[in-house]
Symmetry: C2
Subunit: 415 residues, 2 copies
């Protein structure tokens, strides 16, 4: 049998066993996995060194090697994450709702695992153990296809985790790491809609678009995060400056950093002069529209493409608008429907904004950087969705489940 | 601008207006639509006659013309369905969950409309008004592409409904009926992923497969309903016979009718002799496996293809198994993951069955015919899903929504 056929068939079969494993057993395995990660640190580091050498040999960028390299701290974080997942509530078996019908039927809508989840990701090897933990706890078998540059690290981590599971008496493989790195394997996997229930691509926009176009399996993803802050005419200016600086500067390389700041014309001069001073301290480059440049003549002119751009860098675009409607229209038209925040002391404007902005996360008076599973209190996050079907926004354990209707009766038939 | 481009752009725009319409206004419009359907009965009937003439001219089957033809009763049902929808709880605005974080963030997960829904369906013209009602109440603009054989009826119904909406002061088109019947229009619509949020195909398996393969937009569907009843060794035989007869005979042409009956060998002889007698009364044709034919020598032999077949007719396949495991394996392997029922008085077998069968609806001691939104008490049904993402099983109003996270703070930033 072909490599892909074999993996998906075993994965589907194992998903039926995993789906009925009880929580205590799953938690024991997760804690044992965490322990094994710590105990096998030197083995994992040794294998990781191979990946690093290859990357250095290929003259990869320093930032790339940084993401790839495991350290004592990163390995400890991997172990800690598995322990955190063990502590999260098991979503499987939750009765989402239930009721009795007039004819006596007792209907239960019960949360169950999705089954088999394919995760396609790039360099960071810690994603391997995080995804194994989240999928295992939610009762799903995962098939992991990490970047080829981290294959030795990923296989090492997988080996350690599988051994720990087997030591706890788990008689089946609870996850799979794709070992063959040629792209044809991904293409084949993406057609296996009868064996794989969900695909989650994590990484750059190009990777995600390619997966989405090829897949016959449902995909949950976000292409990019073009997040906005709208500084309303009724904004508290100190709050607005503090929030905009945090949203741009605290970690500019992530999807929930702000990319465009929209400012009401009545507050623009006072606010922008203060903001510019702060942004200069952090060497943030500003691109402004014509009105912005009347106030800040030194900044470069924003082009139409800027409104669509996720800079992932210390760059921000700024636009001045005449009213809140114009701001909402800009966000719905140019944005990526990820996360937007309004800064205002006016309750009606706040309500209008959160109701009319068509994004996964609509915030009032906080930094866009809070768009995150951990920050929301959902626990470790499998990703953020800008899709509207199934899961939207930060995705926790529950988003890796579906439900079934279990209905009990006593001989009822339809009349 | 091209026909499809125009429709989808206006639809997306109108979806922003519709999404914030309040419930009282929506209900008023729905009641006014119901009234208009009754008042314009003769107009609708006249237009429907045109479709019927065309179908007769084309020598379509009687059953086809039956589905197409509107009667006083069917028009009254259309009006009543709109009134029923007006009476259902509005799903939009429900706070699904909400909590406060240690740093003071107040998180609300709030139900909102999906946006724009494309529904592709076949002959029945009443689907037009039912879908308009369900989508409108859930705050979604729908684009309806009905069968070409019912185009005059559909346009007449749409005209009546739009006029009623406009009379109630609705200043925008709340839905669209595709008037151009060439298939290239469907193909184009299925690529408009930035304007359409969900596609629901309703009809035969061929239509649904074609839509699913072409669509870049998420699709919710069921291909077919190969529903099973497992008559366990601990079944109450009287109950089992009554339920199997109801599930096969009461309405054999629908997706929740039973297609395969699986019988435990220990109860097989006694049960099958009784069942055969009942099925003979209703002229149900039986196809049995080898073991079945030892008990019922007159029935024909079931082939492997029979286990995959949705007969939609007075035909049933029967298999005898050695234990419950074999029954569950058969269902998960050959079934369509739609609806299955176990007949047993043994609580452990019931529990095992509902836990291990991988279907949208897992029943105990009732007819598979209960797999239906109305029977579940969800109100009118937009369809039944055998998908695992977003919605599974009978879909009500809530399944036509997504959610957004609305988060209130007071100047919080991330440290």
């Amino acid at each position: 049998m072909d490599y892909v056929d074999r993996i998906v068939k075993v994965a589907r079969n194992n998903s039926y066993i995993l789906s009925s494993l009880n929580t205590a057993v799953k938690n024991k395995v997760l804690l044992s996995m965490a322990k094994a990660i710590r105990e096998n640190k030197s083995f994992i580091m040794r294998e990781n060194k191979k990946d690093i050498s290859k990357a250095e040999h290929k003259k990869m960028k320093k930032s790339f090697i940084d993401r790839l390299a495991l350290s004592d701290k990163r390995i400890e974080e991997m172990a800690r994450c598995l322990e955190d997942i063990a502590n999260l509530t098991d979503p499987v078996g939750e009765v989402i709702s239930g009721w009795r019908r007039p004819n006596g039927l007792f209907i239960n809508k019960v949360r169950v695992p999705l089954g088999v989840i394919l995760i396609i990701y790039e360099a960071r090897p810690n994603v391997t153990s995080d995804c194994v933990g989240l999928c295992f706890k939610s009762g799903n078998v995962c098939i992991l296809r990490g970047g080829s540059s981290s294959i030795d690290s990923n296989l090492a981590i997988a080996k350690v985790l599988k051994k720990a599971a087997s030591k706890e008496g788990l008689g089946f493989e609870p996850f799979f790491v794709v070992e063959h790195m040629d792209y044809s394997v991904i293409d084949k996997l993406l057609k296996k809609k009868d064996y794989i229930d969900l695909v989650i691509p994590r990484g750059g926009e190009k990777l995600i678009r390619s997966v989405t176009e090829k897949s016959l399996i449902p995909v949950i993803k976000h292409y990019k995060g073009v997040c906005h802050i709208f500084v309303d005419e009724y904004a508290d200016i100190q709050k607005a400056v503090k929030i905009c600086v945090n949203a741009k500067v605290q970690r500019p390389s992530v999807c929930n950093a702000v990319e465009t700041i929209i400012v009401h014309k009545r507050i623009a001069r006072k606010f922008l002069l203060l903001l510019k001073k702060e942004f200069d301290r952090y060497t943030v480059k500003i691109k402004g529209d014509k009105e912005t440049r009347k106030i800040l003549p030194s900044v470069s002119l924003a082009k139409t493409t800027d409104w669509y751009t996720e800079y992932l860098d210390l760059i921000v675009s700024i636009r001045i608008v005449s009213d809140i409607e114009e701001a909402i229209q800009h966000i719905n038209y140019y944005g990526s429907h990820h996360t937007e925040s309004i800064i205002t002391e006016n309750i009606n404007h706040a309500t209008k904004f959160v109701n009319e902005v068509d994004s996964a996360c609509c915030f009032v008076n906080i930094s866009t950087r809070f768009s995150d599973g951990n920050q929301f209190g959902l626990g470790a996050e499998i990703g953020i969705s800008t899709d509207k079907l199934h899961a939207r926004g930060p995705m926790g354990l529950k988003d890796l489940t579906t439900y079934k209707y279990i209905v009990y009766g006593n001989g009822q038939i339809r009349e």
